[in-house]
């Protein structure tokens, strides 16, 4: 009984990765696009945990979702990007 519940959650996470990727391409505001790319990285980290790879998940969480967002925002500010 518990296995379909975890499968349902995994399917929702994979759909969230797809939605984050599409939003990162389609949105007009550049900060919203960076945040949507962070969403894809966030859900990919949880899918790595489901696939029994906690070290990969920890690296993805720290670099993909934390450091990349900060570096993107810093670069946008330094290059005087429009919102």
């Amino acid at each position: 009984m518990s296995i379909p519940v975890i499968t349902l959650l995994t399917l929702v996470l994979c759909a969230g990765i797809l939605i984050g990727g599409v939003l990162a391409v389609q949105l007009n505001s550049i900060v919203s696009a960076v945040i949507s790319a962070g969403l894809a990285s966030l859900f990919a980290s949880v899918v790595y945990v489901v696939l029994a790879a906690p070290d990969v998940a920890m690296t993805e969480a720290s670099i993909g979702s934390g450091l990349t967002t900060m570096i993107f925002l810093y670069a946008i500010r330094k290059t005087q990007g429009e919102d």
Binding site: V31, I35, L39, M70
Partner: protein, 86 residues
Amino acid sequence: MAEITVIICSLLIFSSIVFGIIRLVIGPDTVDRVVAIDLLTIVTIALIALLAHHMERYIYLDVALVYGLLSFLGVLAVARYLEKGI
């Protein structure tokens, strides 16, 4: 009994993720999307803790711990950017 608890928690986390994604998609402003990604981060930490309980591998709680620290820094960086701080 514990099985029923896991199922109820999974359904609550499922509905929270769906509503957060809906707000992220239709959010008209950047600030709405920042709040939606903060909600999704907190729900994701709860989901990782639930998976650690369900699979009985408590090393997964370290992933939730690291994620809780770094997501706080990410939202803080976005807020500093929106207030022209960085």
